[in-house]
């Protein structure tokens, strides 16, 4: 969890990784300082977390065989095998099949700010 009270896990998403790549370029070019990059990432942590909570309407359900589960440092990890994932958009549904689904879940209520 970052100092702002938001999880940093979305930095590993495609969006977060691309943001970090861009920040690296700006730091290397001397256009921003590392501390500003950190502030930007902290803002990203907050905004993506709030946006996913407040602005999304799509839902995802899944069914499969729970292979592994653990709860460590307030983080749940599940590995679901032979999984069928249903994506319910506003207007349409689609179904994906995957051999292995890795779910990392954190306590949303810890986001105190």
């Amino acid at each position: 969890m970052s100092t702002t009270g938001y999880y940093e896990l979305y930095r590993r998403s495609t969006l977060g990784a691309s943001l970090m790549d861009s920040l690296d370029t700006l730091i290397s070019d001397g256009r921003i300082e590392a501390s500003l990059a950190m502030t930007i990432l902290e803002t990203f942590d907050r905004v993506i977390s709030d946006t996913l909570r407040d602005k999304t309407t799509s839902k995802l359900t899944f069914k499969g065989h729970l292979d592994t589960y653990r709860f460590c440092d307030d983080v749940w990890t599940f590995i679901v095998k032979d999984c069928i994932v249903k994506l319910d958009g506003q207007d349409q549904e689609s179904e994906l099949k995957c051999d292995k689904l890795h779910i990392v879940a954190c306590n949303a209520k810890k986001n105190t700010e």
């Binding site: 969890m1 970052s2 100092t3 702002t4 009270g5 940093e8 930095r11 990784a17 691309s18 970090m20 790549d21 920040l23 690296d24 730091i27 290397s28 590392a34 501390s35 990059a37 950190m38 990432l41 309407t57 839902k59 207007d91 349409q92 209520k109 105190t112």
Partner: protein, 1059 residues
């Protein structure tokens, strides 16, 4: 340093809109802020008598920059400390003297407080406080402020400068740790509302910063102690004074935010420090009094919403911060009954809810509901134990019954859910936890009548939620408000209720829940049916019946069969599809009717194995709706209805293939009707319908292969006839897709053992069918090939046509050899088709589809393929197009590398013994390691990992690879490390994985090569890389390699960790 010039720069910086000007000024100002004269600059700016808010704020900000980036010595810290205190005191004096005139100073005051808060953390932290020569510990910033302000009142304001040593040095040092007795503190805040406000702001800023910095600073334990022993005491005195006097003197705007920040602080601190636990009982009691305060003859509740909002936050995050006694008091106020006390009254709660409902303050009602339900959740386990077990002998049964009655009443709050009340939706979680808690209780601890109590209570819960989730409420929401988010919330509420029913089923079972709902749907005849009720019950039933094995659950099957369930469902479906309505609300509800029916019919598909009689009317209804829904509904709704109907038909066909054989002529008839060019039915629906027919045809085995082939041939003829007569490109594409779906429908077998057991005839005839399709006397394969080629001759360059054609021709590649299929083409015929296809299509857009088929061919025919054939495929599909197309297109490079990877996965020797392996693949793929595109890097690193470490290698393969590594291992390591060094951060993990594999397979040469190559690649001395190489050796190719490689990459590129 020309202060006037800087002032003018600050003003321009704040007023300009030219980004270049702003950027240039920012650079200049930042240089000044970080210079050795930064502290002087801050003083000068804050001392400007006529300086604007921007200038003063910039002065305070300059102190922040000095504090966070330029602090090297104790004297610097002391200067900043003095300066902040002097300027803060002066500004506080100005503000308290005339708050209205000095209101623009608040922003600068807050910044100075924030600086002092950082100083408070710094000088009280372990590292600095221990040395006697250093600045002494600072116990209580609130007291210091009060004392300095008292001195400021007694002296001339103009003397409050940092260059006045009497003030800045002596007075500040004296006041630093001077005590302020309680009476003096209260005297000060009671006589000055502005001072009261500023002190609340200061203490809030400090604890907010503590929250912010707690994870960054490791040595805050002294600070926690200091807060606990001093600041907490002053703050509680101020807060309680404010709360106690709220009725008479009103509230300052800072009270509630300050309380919130302190609750967050204590919630955090008590988990990280022994000094973090601080009692808030007096404050909570005062807050409850303020909450229950009513003015104007109980018509107004001035602070109730603020207090409830804080309690809501507290109960959802850290409820145990409130002591048990205070919670018991609150329970009595909220519910009017308490599990702990008989003297209870909820008059206030009733009056407050009445006030909210009367004045339509639904947002406040929502917060109250959230607060009450979060509060109930705290004691859920306790409630569960008292209700169902013998653990608490002395519990008064009557009070517990009253308690449950109140909870049920709350759940059944008499307003429209979501739109007006949220108790019912919030209480779902409570009932869910209670039901789960009950389910987890050990049998021996249960009361004798526990089951009866649970069934009775949860039955009432079911009865409450049925009308709550009725679409009638959705209708009211839509009529009242066009807000889509409310509709989504209502739909979420319905889904949550479905989940609750699933849990309640574990207690009530089929007999008291599923059967009750089945009878509820089916009790009335269609002339007398409440469609909203039927929909709500069907909606819940769809969840409860999902996965039920009807043949092993006769009581459920009997219940379905013995009443009007199917009739009423079909009536609901017909109403949804075929009743003409014009309003948007009615259309949305009609669509929901269709969804509920279709979902339930789909879930019940296996029921028709037990009783196939209803299949006739069901299929007839579904067909009728499918054909006519567009006549009765606007296009945007009929499309969605069609999708639902289609999905249900597919599910029923997939599960009831044998039972539906008598209806095959009806299916064909409907197909002919919807395939007509003028039919409005969508392409997608037609394609899926063909697949459903394929499912049924697959079971037409009783009359032998020829009869089945006749059906297939007729279908192909019908689709073929249409292909040859249509000119529209999209229609032709859809017809091709129909051929592909027919093939899919005949490929899939239901995925269960029951099917195998129940269809011995199908299994027994498999060999005969296999032999038949090998000969294919009706030449169905040729007909299909001819149709595909005909379509491609018209639109062969279109990638969509290439995709569907490839899917048709390759349909049977992945099917097991013993499953007969009318599209099982020989390898040579498929290869010839794909070669023609690739030469005629647009290579760049067509290759991915063909490459996918080639991957399947390698996997399916690996035992028949030789290296020579691999060479031929590689040459015909990739090499011939390399210089003209592939080399300049990263997507195509990825396709080519992926195909080679699939060969390495299926049968590596095909690639290793290829003439192109050393000539082309190894040297070219080595170059791709330097690519900048993520997907090229991903496939290429995967290729090298598979090449180095492959479980399918034979002894001979391993020897080839070892020889290869001997000759070009160093080059591979060079390319990998060079590419890693120049890679983006997000690509580092891909290279790290390859390095891990290299180290796992060849640890010894790797180490030497890295020592030799890294200085060449990075331009840094070998000593710089020594730690990295040693660490890599120690990680021994474990997962820790990634962090080691990332660390090295960051060091080499001079970048921060950012994690």
């Amino acid at each position: 340093m020309d202060i006037n010039h800087i002032v003018s720069l600050i003003e321009t910086f704040n007023n300009s809109h030219d980004s270049k000007v702003i950027n240039d000024i920012q650079n200049v100002l930042q240089q000044h802020q970080k210079s050795e004269l930064g502290i002087d600059l801050a003083n000068a700016l804050l001392s400007q008598e006529n300086g604007s808010t921007n200038v003063k704020y910039f002065g305070a900000l300059t102190y922040t920059v000095q504090l966070t980036t330029c602090l090297h010595t104790e004297s610097q810290l002391w200067s900043i400390f003095q300066g902040n205190l002097v300027h803060l005191t002066r500004m506080m004096f100005l503000f308290t003297s005339n708050p209205a005139a000095a209101s623009n100073l608040l922003v600068t005051i807050t910044k100075l407080m924030s600086n002092l808060s950082l100083i408070f953390l710094t000088i009280n932290s372990d590292a600095i406080g221990a040395d006697s020569n250093k600045i002494p510990a600072w116990r209580n910033p609130v007291n210091t402020c009060i004392k300095l302000l008292q001195h400021c009142n007694e002296s001339n304001l103009f003397e409050w400068r940092t260059d006045n040593s009497e003030i800045a040095e002596r007075l500040v040092r004296t006041c630093l740790n001077e005590d302020v007795p309680y009476t003096e503190l209260i005297g000060n805040i009671s006589s000055s509302a502005p001072l009261n406000k500023l002190l609340l702001l200061f203490t809030k800023v400090i604890v907010e910063d503590m929250n912010k910095y707690q994870s960054k600073k490791s040595s805050l334990s002294n600070v926690y102690e200091m807060v606990h022993n001093h600041l907490y005491i002053s703050t509680m005195a101020i807060l309680n004074f404010n709360l106690e006097n709220m009725m008479s003197s009103g509230a300052t705007s800072e009270v509630f935010p300050c309380i919130t920040s302190w609750i967050h602080y204590i919630s955090m601190a008590r988990n990280v420090s022994a000094h973090g636990t601080m009692d808030l009982t007096e404050m909570f009691n005062n807050m409850i009094n303020v909450m229950c305060m009513a003015s104007n003859g109980s018509q107004e509740f001035p602070y109730s919403d603020e207090v409830i909002s804080i309690f809501d936050d507290l109960f959802s995050n850290d409820p145990t911060l409130m002591s048990f006694e205070v919670r018991a008091k609150l329970e009595a106020i909220f519910l009017g009954v308490s599990r702990h006390s008989m003297n209870t009254s909820n008059d206030w709660m009733l009056a407050y809810m009445n006030h909210l409902v009367t004045n339509e303050l639904y947002d406040d009602l929502k917060v109250l509901a959230s607060c009450v339900v979060d509060f109930l959740q705290i004691s859920n386990l306790d409630v569960c134990n008292k209700l169902f077990t013998n653990i608490h002998e002395n519990t008064g049964d009557q009070s517990l019954e009253d308690y449950i009655r109140v909870l049920l009443q709350l759940t059944n709050f008499p307003l429209i859910p979501i739109l007006q009340e949220t108790y019912s939706s919030k209480m779902i979680e409570f009932w869910l936890d209670l039901a789960e808690g009950y389910g987890n209780l050990p049998q021996e601890a249960l009361k004798a009548d526990a089951n009866e109590i649970a069934e009775n209570m949860f039955n009432q819960v079911v009865q409450i939620y049925l009308p709550k989730i009725s679409l009638m409420n959705k209708q009211k929401i839509m009529e009242e408000d066009d807000d889509q988010s409310l509709l989504h919330e209502f739909d979420d509420f319905r889904s949550a209720t479905q989940d609750l029913m699933e849990i309640l089923w574990t207690i009530l079972g089929h007999s008291k829940l599923t059967i009750v709902l089945i009878r509820g749907v089916g009790q009335a005849d269609t002339n007398n049916v409440d469609l909203y009720q039927v929909e709500a019950m069907s909606f819940l039933l769809a969840k409860l019946l999902d996965g039920v094995n009807f043949s092993q659950s006769p009581f459920i099957s009997d219940a379905i069969g013995e009443n009007h369930l199917i009739d009423n469902l079909l009536f609901l479906l017909q109403t949804g599809c075929k009743q003409k309505e014009h309003s948007k609300t009615a259309q949305v509800l009609k669509l929901d009717f269709v969804k509920a029916t279709c979902n339930l019919l789909g879930v019940m598909a296996t029921y028709f194995h037990v009783d196939s009689k209803p299949l006739g009317p069901i299929v007839e209804s579904l067909f009728e709706c499918l054909e006519t829904s567009r006549q009765y509904n606007p296009i945007e709704y009929s499309i969605k209805m069609e999708l639902q109907l289609n999905r249900t038909i597919s599910l029923i066909c997939e599960n009831c293939r044998k039972e539906l054989i008598p209806f095959l002529p009806n299916f064909i008839q409907v197909l002919r009707s919807i395939m007509r060019p003028e039919s409005p039915v969508s392409h997608f629906t037609r394609e899926k319908f063909v697949k459903s027919i394929g499912n049924i045809i697959q079971m037409c085995v009783s009359e032998g292969p020829e009869a089945q082939a006749n059906h297939i041939s007729n279908m192909v003829d019908m689709i073929g006839g249409l292909i040859q007569t249509t000119d529209a490109k999209s229609d032709m594409l859809s017809l091709l897709a129909c051929l592909s779906e027919l093939g899919s429908g005949l490929s899939q077998l239901p995925n269960d053992d029951e099917f195998i057991e129940n269809n011995p005839m199908y299994l027994a005839q498999l060999p005969a069918f296999q032999a038949y399709w090998l000969q294919d006397p009706m030449r169905v394969k040729d007909k299909v090939m001819h149709l595909v080629q005909y379509a491609l001759s018209k639109y062969g360059t279109d990638p969509e046509f290439v995709e569907v054609s490839c899917l048709i021709i390759g349909k049977a590649i992945t099917l097991p050899d013993d499953i007969p299929h009318f599209l099982r083409y020989p390898l040579s015929e498929m290869m010839s088709f794909y070669m023609t296809c690739i030469s005629n299509c647009d290579y760049a857009s067509g290759l991915p589809y063909i490459e996918y088929q080639l991957e399947k061919i390698v996997a399916g025919f690996k035992d028949q393929l030789t290296s020579h054939e691999f060479d031929e495929m590689f040459k015909q599909f990739f090499l011939n197009y390399y210089s003209s197309h592939i080399s300049s297109d990263p997507d195509l490079i990825q396709s080519m590398v992926s195909w080679v990877n699939s060969v390495l996965e299926a049968k590596p020797s095909l690639a290793l013994k290829s003439e192109y392996w050393t000539q082309f693949i190894v040297p070219e793929f080595l170059k791709y390691l330097q690519a900048k595109e993520k997907f090229t890097i991903s496939s290429t690193t995967k290729f090298w990992m598979k090449t180095l470490n492959n479980r399918r290698y034979t002894q001979e393969d391993t020897e080839i690879i070892n020889a290869l590594f001997q000759s070009m291992g160093k080059q591979l390591v060079y390319q990998t490390m060079f590419s890693l060094h120049h890679a983006q951060r997000s690509d580092v993990p891909q290279y790290a994985e390859l390095i891990r594999t290299l180290f796992a397979k060849y640890p010894m040469p790797m180490k030497d090569w890295l020592y030799e190559l890294l200085p060449q690649i990075t331009g840094k001395e070998a000593i710089f890389h020594e730690r990295f190489i040693n660490k890599l050796t120690v990680t021994r190719a474990s997962r820790a390699t990634l962090s080691t490689v990332t660390e090295w990459w960051l060091d080499c590129n001079g970048l921060p960790n950012l994690q």
